[in-house]
Symmetry: C2
Subunit: 165 residues, 2 copies
DNA sequence: CTCAAATAGCTTAGCGCTGAGATACATTGC
DNA sequence: GCAATGTATCTCAGCGCTAAGCTATTTGAG
């Protein structure tokens, strides 16, 4: 029973026995799994005329309190992409009529992004599918295993400063 | 004690209590952690004049049996990127004199990619740094926790077909 | 042997993101 | 009140990747 990373670790043990490459057992799998998960969830997004970037923005708006409005700066902090990326994501979503931009009343520099009715309808339609896809991706683990992994990943995220950012 | 994903889960519980979003406790953290790890390891690569893509190719060659030769197709299967991406990665590495391409003796369609002396020197210099960075990223977990996570991630990868591919 | 199907590698248009920088407005310290 | 600093958003050139498609070669079924 060996996955790709097991083979990689074995190769390193043969070629560089002086190095302790055990961190790769976690980080190598994290990277590969992340890619596979992105590919699979991406298919669900596509089925609803979306991609991961658009879904990310719509879902972030949707889960914020009604009336589902956030500024580009808030979207940026939630998404881990640069301000330029948010501008472009919003350009695309606005062109499709899924979000609206209006000037902020309280801050002359800022903009308020809101879900339109069409945007809200689309994300509410895509969400259950996305959740089902996500559950399917984790089906190989028991609930206890999922909790253990979630807890460990949270510990790592907190140690890296995610949570205050 | 709450990280970004805890807040997201709480928002979903308030906005869509009908959905079981618990898979996001794992997948949301996987995504964020993956991004943070990429950013941090990327800094180490940069410090050696590399990026993740170049390091990936050089490391894959380096850990294969001496004389560290692989075909583009083998590099492609190891890296989870398309053949076009491999062509371009090799173009860049070849231009810098870090790898060489020569026609395969046994298959007229194929090419053999080899680490040059300079390429091998560079990857051998960068590797210990990368391993140290990787270990640092996991410092918040005990060895037992790291093993538990690695095992769970392997289970997931195998369930998704990684390992036979 | 032959020819259709599979495989290897390369090409290129288009895409989303980054990084650097510009502009406008807000806040802070004096 | 005002200058200096910080913040919010947008712009855009450049980058690496994908997807689709091309050529050349190998494989395998009949």
């Amino acid at each position: 029973m060996a996955d790709h990373v097991d083979r990689v670790l074995k190769q390193w043990a043969a070629q560089r026995p002086d190095l302790d490459v055990s961190p790769m057992a976690v980080l190598g799998r994290l990277k590969r799994l992340s890619r596979l998960v992105e590919a699979e969830t991406g298919r669900t997004f596509n089925a609803h005329g979306l991609d991961a970037a658009s879904f990310d923005v719509l879902a972030t708006l949707r889960r914020s309190d009604a009336p589902h409005r956030l500024t580009p700066a808030e979207l940026m902090r939630s998404s881990m992409v640069t301000s330029g990326a948010i501008t472009q994501r919003l350009d695309r979503l606005e062109a499709r009529g899924l979000v609206s931009r209006s000037p902020s009343a309280s801050d002359g520099r800022s903009v308020v992004v809101a879900l339109t009715d069409a945007g809200r309808a689309l994300i509410d339609e895509a969400l259950p599918d996305h959740v089902a896809t996500s559950a399917g991706l984790l089906a190989a683990l028991t609930k206890e295993e999922r909790d253990t992994v979630a807890t460990a990943l949270r510990t790592l995220l907190e140690s890296l400063g995610d949570g205050k950012g």
